[in-house]
Symmetry: C2
Subunit: 359 residues, 2 copies
């Protein structure tokens, strides 16, 4: 098999063990003579997978009593509307930290008033905005904890809030421990740290539900999925299985403390090269806001015309997915959980070699 | 590998070629060194899969110009609400032919008035209701073409309708040719004849969109997905790949005419045994309404106490998923596209053997 270093921003690299177990289950699940794609979602086999997956979410994140873990379809983008459908009575506060936050804000406006209490749009979202005092007259505060496009991440903590805090954690969930009790809802697409595309996780505090006055269509009502353990209708079976295997791998690594340590090492290896050694490459995000998941960098003015050449050299060395988002330009290395430290070292080696040739 | 006959009602048996190709792609997609789960949905590899899948839908069903094929998340159940969100201005007509139709009706009521113009609830949905003259003052007529629980199917055709006809074809799509031009929207979950759980197909006539006055959240607006070829947000990559492989298999079988012929043969093998030979088993659905996809039968009064014993015997002979839905009881053999004729013959053999022992 071809050796690559997979820096894709999501869907992205997954633990090889999870990939191989899912591929095996696709051929023959537990010796049943059937593919994972061919079993009933009401079967004991799938019930066991679903239950284990919920249990692993609760265990790894230390989710307290009173919260439910849901596995839904439609992606985080559907949550941008499902969330206010369920929780926005009159007004909600949002932090505008990037494009995904903007999309969430747009959908919330279908359901009520939105107060954007902080934004970093003035500098193309290159920093994570400071969160001011949270107003008490809103139904919730919404934040996006990691911004894949700009490479910024929320490193603060909201220690007391007069209203429930809701977080889109699509791109840094399970990358480090999180105190779930500080949040009312945590949601995201699985396709970064916890699985393949096709399943969305929602961790929701039961006490927040049923408070808005509007009628909510059944599939968009969190209570439907809470009551049925996400089995109200046919769930995305394969994606949930692969997510379960990914969580098993996280647990086997030593859980979120160990994963966080590895993620810090990986980010440090690249940021340190950018900050302390390179004269050719420079990071784009504000240092205090830097993401441990998505590391964005460009070439300095002097070498700007070398970007394409570096891209070719990096590709030839097996680097995949390092093109930066068009709104930032340059390069982006996504260093999600399953990316080995060796891949980051290989990228730094490749940058160093290129730099030695020209700088 | 254990030999089973997979009569699951969905998710269900899939073509072995589609299963094996998907499993291989999960290990290493096109020699890329990456799993199908690890590639970007914006990559050329996935773009090719998505485009081929759309093209196969159009080719196999002969979808005319002016229609779009969308691949969404959330299941047909989400379409029960997304459809009226987009098309129901004031009033819609629904045919109540089973539990899924009832669920669709329930969701439509969130958006406007619903006129149930035909129902078979009087006889526990054991027949497909005749469709009366379609009123001209509704925004659309909604039908469910196959009712998995009761084993009934719509064998008529709607040759002229004053309003667009919308069909939930979750459980008989691609089982036979369909004149798409007679429909405004055709939708369904993939997990019967066209793929695994986790992706929903929507075939929608563009001219019907944008006519309702209400504001539609972005993800629930068909126009969003039309404009982006279902790539507005991250799609369920693996499920779409497996669907594409399933459609390739259908094409290789000779397309829908050939598939329909095989499906008739399979259904005929079992119905003929029930009608002409068996004194122990009897079909539950009205003969004229019988489904070619889900064949429901019970034991006659005299042998009622033998149901559990037959279930054990059938299981021992490798039959999977033949328990009837609790609202009908008895047995159900789902004979979707990928089920081999040999499996139906094995089931009939098993029934015959059991009957010889006791009758």
């Amino acid at each position: 098999m071809k050796q690559v270093h997979n820096f894709n921003a999501g869907p992205c690299v997954l633990p090889r063990a999870a990939v191989e177990k899912t591929a095996q289950a696709l051929l023959d699940l537990n010796g049943s003579g059937m593919s994972l794609m061919e079993i009933s979602h009401r079967s004991k086999d799938f019930e066991a997978i679903n239950n284990e997956c919920i249990a692993l979410w609760k265990e790894l994140l230390g989710i307290p009593e009173g919260y439910h873990v849901l596995f839904l379809g439609g992606g985080a983008s559907l949550q941008f509307c499902m969330l206010p459908y369920n929780l926005l009575g009159k007004k909600a506060a949002y932090v505008e930290s990037g494009v995904w936050a903007k999309k969430a804000i747009k959908e919330a406006k279908f359901f009520g008033e939105v107060s954007v209490i902080a934004s970093s749009s003035d500098k193309n979202f290159s920093y994570y905005p400071a969160i001011p005092a949270i107003p008490g007259d809103v139904d919730y505060l919404h934040i996006t904890t990691n911004n894949t496009i700009y490479g910024t991440e929320f490193h603060g903590s909201i220690d007391s809030s007069p209203v429930p805090v809701v977080a889109d954690m699509s791109s840094d969930i399970m990358s480090r421990p999180v105190d779930v009790s500080k949040y009312g809802v945590i949601y995201g697409g699985a396709q970064k740290n916890v699985g393949p595309a096709g399943v969305t996780f929602v961790i929701v505090k039961e006490a927040l539900l049923g408070k808005v006055q509007r009628a909510i269509p059944t599939m968009l009502d969190y209570r439907t999925h809470v009551a049925e353990k996400s089995l109200f209708n046919t769930p995305p079976v394969v994606a949930i299985y692969a997510m379960c295997e990914t969580l098993r791998w996280i647990k086997a690594q030593g859980g979120l403390q160990a994963i966080a340590k590895l993620n810090r090492q990986k980010a440090e290896a690249l940021y340190s090269y950018l900050d302390n050694e390179s004269k050719m490459f420079v990071g784009t995000a504000d240092k205090a806001s830097r993401s441990l998941m998505n590391i964005c960098f460009v070439m300095t003015e002097k070498y700007k015309d070398k970007e394409e050449e570096f891209m070719s050299a990096a590709k030839a060395a097996g680097m995949v997915g390092i093109k930066g988002h068009r709104s930032v330009g340059g390069f982006r290395a996504s260093t999600y959980n399953a990316l080995p430290l060796a891949s980051v070292q290989a990228l730094v080696g490749c940058m160093r070699e290129f730099e030695a040739k020209f700088a």
